[in-house]
């Protein structure tokens, strides 16, 4: 099964992105906890992209593709046209330092890396594609 969603880069749209992911994954035998993990990782990816690459401009758009094969990994693609925000090159801050510095950011990338089994970036038709995979079962 394939699902696609296109939406403007406003943080107010994160809720509808999460609802789209939940609706797409429903009925595929995915537990509540794993479903929430996937929603969380994709929410973190989209909000990072909206903030860092699109400065929350609602006229900029991003696309989310979800592929649920009968067998094998779930595949998620986030597609946009912007400066690449590559989280694989992002150095994760130490948790102790974050607490000490009273910083509110820096946790999202850590969550995505812990939840997803692979993260890769590619270029397709002049657009950035971030492909994330999650093993189920």
């Amino acid at each position: 099964m394939n699902y696609r969603y296109k939406i403007g880069c406003s943080l107010n749209n994160l809720k509808s992105i999460r609802d789209f992911i939940r609706t797409s994954l429903k009925g595929h035998g995915i537990s509540d906890v794993v479903m929430n993990e996937i929603v969380l990782a994709l929410d973190e990816m989209c909000s990072n992209l909206m903030i860092h690459s699109h400065h929350c401009n609602p006229e900029h758009q991003l696309e989310l593709h979800i592929r649920i094969p009968q067998k094998g990994d779930l595949v998620f693609e986030i597609i946009d046209e912007s400066n690449l925000f590559d989280i694989t090159k992002f150095e994760e801050p130490d948790l102790g330092n974050l607490i000490h510095e009273k910083r509110k950011g820096g946790l999202g990338v850590r969550l995505v890396k812990k939840i997803m089994d692979s993260i890769e970036y590619l270029s397709k038709d002049g657009k950035n594609v971030c492909r994330l995979k999650k093993k189920i079962g």
Partner: protein
């Protein structure tokens, strides 16, 4: 998206979060906690019974108060977290850094003990 209610009981400020906390709504949680601290509360319990989702932005708010609360001797206890929500805290190892209880009675007991 998110509704936050406050109720004061026996000198404890009870903050109830209803709905979902993400990058757009975490500011409301931050402002509510700041308000509680500003009003001089030293005991805060956070009712997460109706919290359906929290992203890193919300976790970051709780984390950002850890040091300040230690310095000011303020106790904060969370309770009623759903399994999927507590899992988000656990993935990051935050469940061990915050005080988390099953229900309100336990939370109030712990917050009183912590602030002794």
């Amino acid at each position: 998206m998110v509704h936050i209610k406050r109720l004061q009981e026996e000198g404890i400020d009870c903050i109830a979060i209803i709905g979902e906390i993400d990058a757009s709504s975490s500011i409301e949680l931050d402002l509510t906690i700041a308000k509680s601290v500003g009003e001089g509360f030293r005991k805060i319990v956070v009712d997460c019974t109706a919290l359906e989702y929290i992203s890193s932005a919300g976790l970051g708010v709780f984390m950002s108060y850890i040091e300040e609360f230690k310095d000011k001797n303020i106790a904060m206890v969370l309770f009623g977290l759903k399994e999927k929500v507590i899992n988000t805290f656990t993935i990051l190892g935050l469940a061990d850094l915050l005080h988390i209880c099953e229900n309100k009675t336990e939370a109030k007991k712990l917050v009183n003990e912590l602030s002794l």
